[in-house]
């Protein structure tokens, strides 16, 4: 569509709009409609007023609430400020007492130093200190010796225990040997024949008589010969005096 056609249409419509001829407008209907709508506006205004009043009430309530809350907070703040003041006073007091304590401690150390100075100056105390030192040295030496002795004692105890153990083992072995000997002797008992060298026995008896008066000049063997079917045993142990059969 060309521009001039649109312009033509636009002009036609604008002219039509401005025409005074009636197009069926019922002015009474329009005014009646407007009059009927007016109360609605009044209602709207009333509702508007009510809503405003409600909002004002809410705002007032909120303001009052915040005011009271603010007052409470103010009171709490005052209480807290008082507490803070009290605490600061207490802290100051504690700091002062701490300083005093420090001062008193310093004084004590001074007095101790003085006492030590006085002790050094006195000769009696020096002697006593020397004696004390000597005694301590002796005591230490004694303690060292005591510990050495205890160590030795424990070593001896250990050796004693070892010896007793070996003796017990020896006794056991002797017993065992004896029992074996007895068993072997019982086996050979049947074919046992005892030959006694009577001369030697007579000599032995004589010697025993002589021993009562004179010392022995020479030793003579007492031979016991045990005959077995298979072997013969000869005991060459020194004969004990006073053996009787």
């Amino acid at each position: 569509m060309k521009k001039h056609v649109e312009d033509q249409i636009k002009n036609a419509i604008e002219t039509w709009d401005e025409k005074p001829a009636d197009l069926g407008l019922d002015k009474d209907l329009v005014w009646n409609t407007i009059a009927a709508v007016q109360p609605k506006i009044q209602d709207q205004i009333n509702w508007y007023k009510v809503s405003v009043a409600v909002v004002l009430l809410l705002l007032t309530w909120g303001w009052g609430n915040t005011y009271f809350a603010n007052r409470l907070l103010q009171n709490e703040k005052n209480v807290m400020a008082n507490n803070i003041q009290n605490l600061s006073l207490e802290i100051n007091k504690m700091q002062q007492s701490k300083k005093e304590l420090k001062k008193s401690e310093e004084i004590k150390t001074d007095t101790i130093i003085k006492v030590i100075n006085i002790a050094n100056e006195s000769s009696e105390h020096k002697v006593l200190l020397q004696n004390k030192q000597q005694l301590e040295q002796k005591n230490n030496a004694l303690l060292a010796e005591n510990s050495n002795l205890l160590a030795q004692l424990s070593a001896i105890n250990k050796q004693h225990l070892l010896l007793t153990d070996s003796l017990i083992v020896l006794a056991k072995s002797v017993k065992k040997e004896a029992s074996t000997q007895l068993s072997t002797s019982s086996n050979i008992c049947k074919d046992l024949a005892l030959q006694v060298n009577e001369e030697a026995l007579a000599l032995l008896t004589e010697q025993s008589k002589e021993k009562l008066n004179t010392a022995p000049t020479h030793k003579k063997k007492f031979e016991i010969v045990l005959f077995n079917k298979s072997e013969s045993y000869t005991s060459e142990a020194p004969a004990k005096t006073g053996i009787t059969f």
Partner: protein
């Protein structure tokens, strides 16, 4: 004083007397309520302001019609060709042609060609997209072209 003028505007958009009456009544109510807030002193400005109120009220009335937007969506795309007229057409014929357009076409055409709104503004006023406004305008032009051609033919045959 302005009731005829405003009624014609409302009627041009609504094409219905009852709806135009309602729109005019509501427009006057709006004018009475808001005139105290303005500082209009010239008659031309006052007339234009009242016209704008009447158009807006008519559009609000128009948007209540359920079919209005459906019409906007359902019309098919048609190729546009230049429209020419020999200038012999009567003003009443042109007005009747515009008034005989469907609601959607007529509204967009009136807002764009007669009131001078841009597509973005039309889209905002009608709650549609700018592209829809453009397509509606194109279709309105095509339909008007057809009507003008028919009218030219009838004039030729009658003469």
């Amino acid at each position: 004083m302005y009731s005829d003028y405003l009624y014609r505007i409302c009627f041009r958009y609504l094409c219905n007397r009852d709806d135009a009456h309602d729109a005019l009544s509501q427009s006057f109510l709006n004018i009475f309520n808001k005139i105290s807030e303005t500082d209009i002193q010239e008659e031309v400005v006052l007339k234009a302001w009242m016209k704008r109120i009447a158009i807006n009220q008519s559009l609000m009335q128009l948007r209540k019609r359920k079919m209005f937007f459906m019409e906007l969506d359902l019309i098919e795309e048609i190729e546009e060709s230049p429209l020419t007229t020999d200038g012999s057409l009567l003003e009443d014929d042109l007005v009747n042609m515009v008034l005989s357009l469907p609601d959607g076409y007529r509204t967009v055409f009136s807002l764009y060609v007669i009131e001078g709104y841009k597509h973005d503004e039309i889209a905002q006023k009608l709650g549609i997209t700018a592209s829809t406004s453009k397509s509606q305008l194109r279709k309105a032009r095509l339909q008007l072209k057809g009507m003008i051609e028919k009218l030219d033919v009838s004039y030729e045959t009658s003469h």
